[in-house]
Amino acid sequence: MNESANYYAVLGVAPDASQEEIERAARRLGEQFPPAARDPLVNVAYHQLARAYSVLSDPEQRAAYDAERKRQPSVLDLQVYTSRSTLAAGEGAQLLYVLATLAASEREQEASRPLNLCLVFDTSTSMAGERLERIKAAARRVIEKLSTRDVISIVTFSDRATVVVPSCRVNNHALLVARLNTITASGGTEILSGLEAGVNELSKVDPEQYINHLILMTDGHTYGDEQESIALMQHAADERVTMSAFGIGADWNDAFLDRLVTPSGGHSAYIEAPAEIVTYLQDQVQALGATYAENVHFIWNLPVEVSCKYLIRLSPFAQPLRCQGAFIPLGTVETTAPLAVLFELAVDPPRAREVELFLEFEATIPSRGLINKRFGERVTLSVVPEREPLVPPPLIVRAVEMLTLYRLNEKAWAEFEAGDVKQATRRMGRLTQRLVDAGHTELAEHALQETQRLERQGTSTMEGRKRLKYGTRSLFTQTLKLDTDD
């Protein structure tokens, strides 16, 4: 663990705050945590709070900390946790878990850049009725929340795309709402045409001046244009457009939406009931407004002995990421929610006394005028002759437990797809048990239903599968509580 966190920011006090102010701030913040979360070992935010308080409340430690801060001003706090500090020689490949969190170093809300937002709505026949009405209501709320500095565009698509609201500043709410009301649903689901029109609208302003984001809402499958869609969003990501995708109901392609959002480090989510559309859309827009650092990438320059087996973002918005190439998009850091990623690495220890990993990141922080700023942390693992017992930090244990549940579910469905119903049933049964053990009763019930369905009929439902996939994914944010403000 490094000591780079800005403790003044954690407590929300000025660097020249008095001891009483520090005391008061720490108590006030501490009380915001539910009693169960007041464990510095499992809650990152609480851990930071406790650490900040212990340093700043001690005049001697505070003086040393101030001196260090003067020497090395930071803009983004990077904390790295690892599951082990040694590797056993001659044991071959070994797993190493690395959890990295990046947090805004200043708590005060900076005037963030305005939004350049494009809402891309599926208006195929199946959207008619409650889904479309809820989407319109959600869009209305979003429009109300935006400021006159922001730019919005709205695109709908069925067999082809329609630009309902061309890229414009949000200064005539009534006109925008009137345009929304003209939307009706009929036809197929041609996602590519919708995305093309959306990206085109987003490109009408200078991307450097805005936070550019496309929100896709769909309830169906697109046919034959998946690859082109992914390529389009890859290209858009290069032009600083990020994306989030929401699937409504059960009949949409989750693997495809995951791949669409990967290039920009965005996220996909499952909206089970139309009533939830408003919340999801609002949360997304609110998160965009709280963007502190964007275009965050992990720069892969780890030694050849190290390979990445799995990479997942835990916060904000849990999302598996593709660990490939030298620049791996991770997403954004929000002023209120740190970015946390978990790596599962395989390390084959070399014939040397130690392995050094340099975990390097790159981020753009517009409020500081920093573009593609690089920073990192060195982790050294010593190579020892005998395997040592693992004593990972509880936070890593929690994160890996969640990851294990998520992957058990993915594995069961991969086995099901491959035709091995028996194995899938067994695994789903095990997942049920683990979910019960971990106290996630509601998810356990869904898993049990799927187990029984597999056992009795050898079938599954798209609904159940999505519930489990996104349910196990949401455990990360629920259980780790990385949001400092929650």
């Binding site: 490949a93 294990t404 695994r427």
Partner: protein, 167 residues
């Protein structure tokens, strides 16, 4: 490579959880424990537990152990206490169920590993603070606490699997 103690899958060293079955690999501290007998009794409707569920095991007469590793099947009359372990005459250990020849040594069975007790409350199993633990249907039992045992249950002593049938 190491093996998962619950599902026997091969695991890359350094893993914290088994990717095949989700079991924690961090040893006792992180193991989830089964609910002790007393707590279960307190949670549930008392008459139902004693009257209904326990009936089959209360009226039991004999108990059969099947050890897949050795293929041996042992049938014993149900008596107030059946000790499970390994015979060691020098230390005076003579368990009713001796697993020495069933792979007990390699499987990590202690000399005095666990007891099966039979009383008016039914059949229970108690781990005798064994070195490698007693598992009931995949749960590691906390030592020295009685857990109800039912026909068809699977117990594991260290790494040695034993199926139990009560008639």
């Amino acid at each position: 490579m190491i093996r998962c103690s619950e599902c026997n899958a091969l695991i890359i060293p350094g893993a914290l959880y088994c990717n095949e079955c989700g079991a924690s690999l961090l040893g006792n501290g992180e193991m989830r424990e089964a609910q002790p007998f007393v707590e279960k009794e307190a949670e549930m409707d008392r008459p139902r537990l004693v009257g209904q569920e326990m009936n089959p095991t209360v009226e039991a007469e004999q108990i059969t152990f099947f050890i897949p590793f050795s293929g041996r099947r042992i049938r014993l009359p149900l008596q107030p206490q059946i000790r499970i372990g390994r015979t060691d005459p020098s230390a005076g250990h003579e368990p009713e169920l001796d697993l020495t020849d069933d792979g007990g040594v390699g499987g990590g069975v202690s000399r005095c590993h666990a007891d099966i007790q039979f009383s008016g409350e039914g059949v229970v199993i108690i781990d005798r603070d064994s070195t490698n633990g007693t598992y009931l249907n995949g749960y590691r039992l906390p030592p020295e606490l009685p857990y109800p045992l039912h026909s068809g249950d699977e117990i594991r002593l260290g790494e040695l699997l034993v199926h139990v049938f009560i008639e």
